[in-house]
């Protein structure tokens, strides 16, 4: 079963962000989307998540799926603590014990165990982002959308979260779409990397990344090849 977008279009007033945009994505894969700032990546995720409706075109495969969406901004409730913000989205889905367990697990994972009772305004930028990550990961969903998830984190933290994320993914193999500007990130996580053109966003090309996760490092020649291939594609002005 696959996810499909059939020539979707979205315009804000006279600004065409998406025009007859179509794409097809197999599920249970991590698919990465890269593209210039202002291309329409967030708009695309918003459409996939149903946050906004396309002006034209249709989606298939999304309807019956539960979706978790890590927005580009943390979007935390200012009057709720770290814990409460995560519980907020879990409460309706599971028993008290279950969500307590989940909250514990994910707050630890993002390294905020000491800040569980802090309010968002008391957190640093990166910490807010981590709360959003914990919330998105903790939420049970078939489809996980992430918009620049590991932005604003230091390299080590980023790396450890990427590893943690991959282990989690191993267990359930959810379908994942994520947007990033960090090519390394893309290559580390993406089984497939879709490169978008500038507005109105079209698919410039995509790159398959068959390398198993644990072999994705610069020492691997194959990996380097793909990396160069990607950089080529990104830099190349036309397709």
């Amino acid at each position: 079963m696959t996810f499909e977008i059939h020539n979707a279009s979205k315009a804000f007033k006279d600004l065409n962000v998406l025009q007859d945009f179509s794409m097809e994505m197999e599920d249970h894969k991590i698919i990465c989307i890269v593209g210039p700032s202002g291309a329409g990546k967030t708009t695309l995720l918003n459409i996939m998540s149903g946050v906004i409706k396309p002006d034209a075109g249709s989606l298939s495969g999304f309807a019956d799926k539960t979706v978790s969406y890590l927005f580009q901004e943390p979007r935390l409730l200012p009057w709720k603590t770290v814990d409460q913000n995560i519980e907020f989205v879990l409460k309706d889905k599971m028993s008290k014990n279950d969500y307590h367990r989940l909250v514990d697990q994910y707050v630890d994972m993002v390294g905020l165990a000491d800040f569980r009772h802090y309010y968002p305004r008391q957190l640093s930028g990166g910490m807010k982002q981590r709360v959003a990550i914990a919330r998105a990961f903790a939420y049970p969903a078939d489809l996980l959308l992430m918009d620049e998830p590991f932005d604003g984190l230091d390299p080590q933290l980023k790396r450890s979260l990427i590893n943690a994320f991959f282990c989690l993914w191993q267990l359930e193999k959810r379908s994942v779409f994520f947007v990033t500007h960090d090519m390394r990130e893309a290559l580390l996580l993406g089984d497939k990397i879709i490169v978008l053109t500038d507005r109105p966003a079209r698919i410039k090309g995509h790159i398959q990344n068959p390398i198993p996760y644990w072999d994705r490092h610069s020492e691997n020649v194959e990996f380097q090849r793909i990396e160069n291939q990607l950089n080529e594609l990104v830099i190349n002005p036309t397709c």
Binding site: Y69, E73, K80, F88, K91, D92, Y119
Partner: protein, 253 residues
């Protein structure tokens, strides 16, 4: 905090004293006790009021009306406000009614009110006609200004509407609600008393005030006014306190 609270206490105190000074001077300037009695005069009458046997039943009755009028207005205003803020068509549906409630002069309907409610309830009704629109207006505006991205997030995560209302809307409208509430709380007493003067319940500050007026005991009138203001002040400080409590998370600190 503690030092700052004592500071504010002294500022307020000073301001109150200044208020009395102005009153004192005004009284001297007017020079007619029947028009504007001096603070001392008023204070003497205040004492005699305090000790009078019917004092507590009188202010008790008025406070009861105030709380009732306020509570009813609050509940209805918040409820309708939430719905109207949520759902535009409903707002437009209510609009004419709200305008009528806001604008209709009490005089036009007071006799109907006296016939429909018994005299004890009339002030509650009249208060509603003023308090409801204030709180309603603020709640609606509060909801319109809820942070959309947060709302999208909650909807995205399929949070139950009931919880969205309680955990997302209610906190975001709090500042608006508080603004409305703290204003309305003060006005309640003014309105209740005005209505009591019209409907003359047997126990009421308004009734006492009117007695004072027809006897030209202006000092008495002012004494009762002071009582009303003290009541108002107590309730408002309570709301101030509430406001600080509710903003612990700090949006407005």
């Amino acid at each position: 905090m503690n030092s700052s609270t004592t500071k504010t206490f002294f500022i307020t105190l000073g301001s109150v004293l200044f208020l009395f000074a102005v009153w004192e001077i005004g009284a001297h300037y007017v020079g007619q006790e029947i028009l504007l009695p001096s603070p001392q005069k008023t204070f003497i009458h205040l004492i005699s009021i305090f000790v009078s046997p019917s004092f507590w039943s009188t202010i008790g009755a008025t406070i009861a009306r105030g709380i009732m009028g306020f509570a009813i207005s609050l509940v209805i205003a918040v409820f309708l406000g939430l719905v109207a803020g949520f759902y535009r068509p409903f707002f437009w549906l209510l609009q004419p009614w709200v305008t009528v409630i806001k604008t209709t002069p009490v005089m036009s309907i007071v006799i109907l009110a006296i016939i429909w409610f018994e005299t004890d309830a009339v002030p509650v009704f009249v208060a509603f006609l003023i308090i409801f629109p204030i709180i309603y207006g603020n709640v609606v505006m509060g909801i319109r200004n809820v942070d959309r991205p947060l709302l999208e997030m909650a909807r995205m995560y399929k949070v139950k509407t009931r919880r969205i209302v309680i955990e997302l809307f209610t906190p975001s409208i709090m500042p608006y609600l508080l603004a409305g509430v703290s204003t309305a709380m003060g006005l309640t007493w003014k309105v209740i008393i005005a209505a009591e003067i019209l409907s003359q319940p047997s126990f009421a500050i308004g009734t006492e005030l009117m007695k004072g007026k027809i006897n030209f005991e202006t000092a008495n009138v002012f004494a009762w006014t002071v009582v009303a203001i003290m009541i108002s002040f107590i309730f408002e400080s309570f709301i101030q306190f509430l406001e600080i409590r509710l903003n612990r998370w700090g949006s407005s600190l």
